[in-house]
């Protein structure tokens, strides 16, 4: 009801009567049944006048898929490299905190010459930098189970924004980080007061404290008013709502780097500090629940690597027998989602299509069996296998689940 009211108000504008007709017909059935040509002619009616905020078309409904702990980006509904901010995935450990930007503070202390507290205004005074990069949760994987799952279900815990803020190296110089400091603790001000230990080298290399996302203040769900950004590293390390950085000479062994975000690997070992996200790609079109027609199809998708730029994406349209290079959309950026396309003619036969990413280190995205062979069947986190979509004779596109064995 409230949603209806809102749309009504948005559409009503100065042209009450005709717009109401549109609102009525647009609820529920419009997309399925189509509107009669005569129902509403936008050329015969002045539309709503300029407003304070833009809106999505009432015909578009991209939505994240929330669970108790996360909310996934609808990759199959998006077109370019940037994730609209309200569709950026969410993962947090105790909900989204409400932080007043006027009382926000970031304290940097420990092995530094000048322990300092920065207000948000202080952070914004420093020379700023913008960069586009992805953030992906290292739990961004779904065990193969059924055909009816979408790109969003399989790997919707990755999103990309343009982030603006101050380089952490600038702040490190400001406080005078002791050359003997090897790790720092990053602490959030959510109800989990979430912490991670990060090697200082990443702080000098490309870490940032960011306060803006896609041109506006960062969203609460992404860490308002400021978060750590560690390009290419598992999302959990880019601590949101950051309130404290403590320089130290060793890791703190917090719960999120021991009990969680570690993965069993061969010989009973438990792998820790697996920071970097390996290269991955996924075809986002055609994918479940798309319906194909015979003829030319532009296969589209995303590829990314936490180790640098995507060098190449290869697409197979014959279930992995042969591979062909896809076209990469420029700009191809460091540690960033890269959009790829591959033109293909579907002749109506049953087949499977899939993509694999190759990054600038020469790493080739593995298959599920290769990952299991390397790490063991009980592994978890950092799973980046090639994803295949099965195209059935009737044009139905479904996920092609491989056995987890």
């Amino acid at each position: 009801m409230s949603q209806k009211m809102t749309r009504r108000r948005l559409l009503l504008g100065g042209a009450a009567t005709a717009a109401v007709a549109l609102v009525k017909s647009s609820f529920g059935k419009m997309v399925q049944t189509g509107i009669p040509e005569t129902a509403f002619d936008p050329t015969k009616q002045v539309g709503p006048l300029p407003g304070v905020l833009g809106t999505r078309s009432p015909f578009e409904h991209p939505q994240r898929k929330p669970s108790l702990t996360s909310s996934q980006t609808p990759l199959q509904d998006l077109y370019g490299m940037i994730t609209p901010s309200d569709l950026h995935f969410e993962r947090h450990h105790a909900g989204v905190p409400a932080i007043d930007p006027n009382s926000y503070e970031l304290m940097i202390h420990g092995m530094v010459d000048r322990p300092t507290v920065f207000s948000l205004a202080d952070l914004k005074r420093f020379p700023s930098v913008s960069r586009i990069c992805f953030i992906e949760c290292s739990g961004n994987f779904r065990k193969p189970d059924k055909e009816s799952i979408t790109p969003q279900d399989i790997c919707g815990l990755t999103s990309q924004s343009e982030w603006t803020g101050v380089m952490l190296s600038t702040l490190f110089r400001e406080v005078g980080v002791n050359p003997k400091a090897t790790w720092f603790l990053a602490e959030g001000s959510d109800a989990a007061v979430m912490t991670r230990s990060i090697p200082v080298s990443k702080g000098w290399e490309d870490a940032m404290i960011v306060y803006a996302q896609n041109g506006e203040a960062i969203r609460p769900q992404q860490g308002y008013p400021a978060r750590l950004l560690l390009p290419g590293w598992e999302g959990n390390t880019s601590v949101k709502w950051i309130r404290r950085i403590e320089l130290s000479d060793g890791p703190f062994m917090t719960r999120e780097e021991t009990s969680k975000y570690t993965e069993p690997v061969k010989d009973g070992k438990i792998r820790q500090f697996s920071f970097t996200m390996d290269a991955r790609s996924i075809i986002t079109y055609p994918a479940y629940p798309a319906q194909l027609e015979k003829g030319w199809v532009e296969i589209r998708g995303l590829a990314w690597s936490g180790r640098g730029k995507i060098r190449q994406v290869e697409v197979s349209t014959d279930a992995g027998k042969t591979w062909n290079a896809a076209r990469l959309q420029e700009p191809v950026l460091d540690k960033a989602h890269t959009y790829f396309r591959y033109l293909w003619q579907w002749n109506g036969d049953t087949t499977a299509i899939m993509s694999r990413a190759i990054d600038e280190t020469g790493y080739v995205q593995p298959g599920l069996q290769e990952l299991i062979a390397a790490r063991g069947i009980g592994t978890g986190y950092h799973l980046n296998p090639v994803t295949a979509w099965l195209i059935k004779r009737d044009g139905q596109v479904v996920y092609s689940p491989e056995k987890w064995k």
Binding site: A94, M107, H109, G110, R114, P115, T116, V117, F118, S119, D122, R125, F126, P127, R173, E174, L185, A191, A192, V193, M194, T195, R243, R244, S248, G250, F252, M253, T254, R255, T258, S259, P264, V265, K266, D267, G268, K269, I270, R271, Q272, F273, S274, T276, D278, A279, S305, D359, T361, G362, Y363, P366, A373, A374, R375, G376, I377, G378, T379, W404
Partner: protein, 186 residues
């Protein structure tokens, strides 16, 4: 550009630009006081640095656990509905990489006992985070360690004893060695 080049007057503009480009110190922010550092720096290191004064016992921990934790983690720590806190097996059970269903909990997966204190003090109980006193956190930590068969029923847990507890899973921990490139998958 070395300093003498500026003095000599050659390429003066480039020098100036460079000198103003990145000051080492902008002077923004305010000095953090000893006191605020002491109250805010709550992280506990595995060597025990950061642990507060106070102590706790298994007996007291049992009472706190029953009152404030059991509703979410089960009467004995294995019933849920949320995270299982007590390992149903020992560290020598079939290794995790071969046993996808094996439950990971404090006794068979956590590498450091200090993590329990640090995490519970910041984040638990989930519905009232940060509400336990340091002594209560010590006690409930003691109970969790005892329930995981890592300490005896009469052990006392404090800043001295907690870091000394050897967690059996620790010897299985390795640091990530993936490097990308075209070598074998890790």
């Amino acid at each position: 550009m070395p300093f003498w080049a500026c003095v000599a007057g050659t390429l003066m503009i480039a020098c100036e630009r460079r000198n103003t480009a990145i000051p080492v110190h902008f002077g923004y922010g305010r000095t953090a006081t000893e006191k605020e550092i002491a109250t805010k720096a709550i992280a506990i290191r595995p060597d025990g640095k950061g642990l507060p004064a106070g102590s706790g016992t298994v007996q007291n921990g049992a009472l706190i656990y029953a009152a404030k934790c059991a509703s979410c983690h089960g009467t004995t720590g294995v019933e849920g509905p949320y995270n299982i806190l007590v390992a149903p097996d020992t560290v020598d059970a079939p290794p995790f990489d071969q046993a996808p269903k094996r439950v990971k909990a404090i006794g068979n997966y956590w590498p450091y006992a200090t993590t329990i204190f640090d995490y519970v003090r910041r984040a638990m109980p989930f519905n009232a985070p940060g509400s336990l006193s340091d002594n209560e956190v010590y006690s409930v930590t003691a109970w969790l360690l005892h329930a995981n068969k890592l300490i005896g029923a009469d052990a006392v847990i404090n800043a001295k004893t907690l870091p000394g507890i050897v967690m059996p899973a620790r010897r299985y921990y390795v640091t990530d060695s993936r490097k990308g490139g075209d070598g074998p998958y890790e």
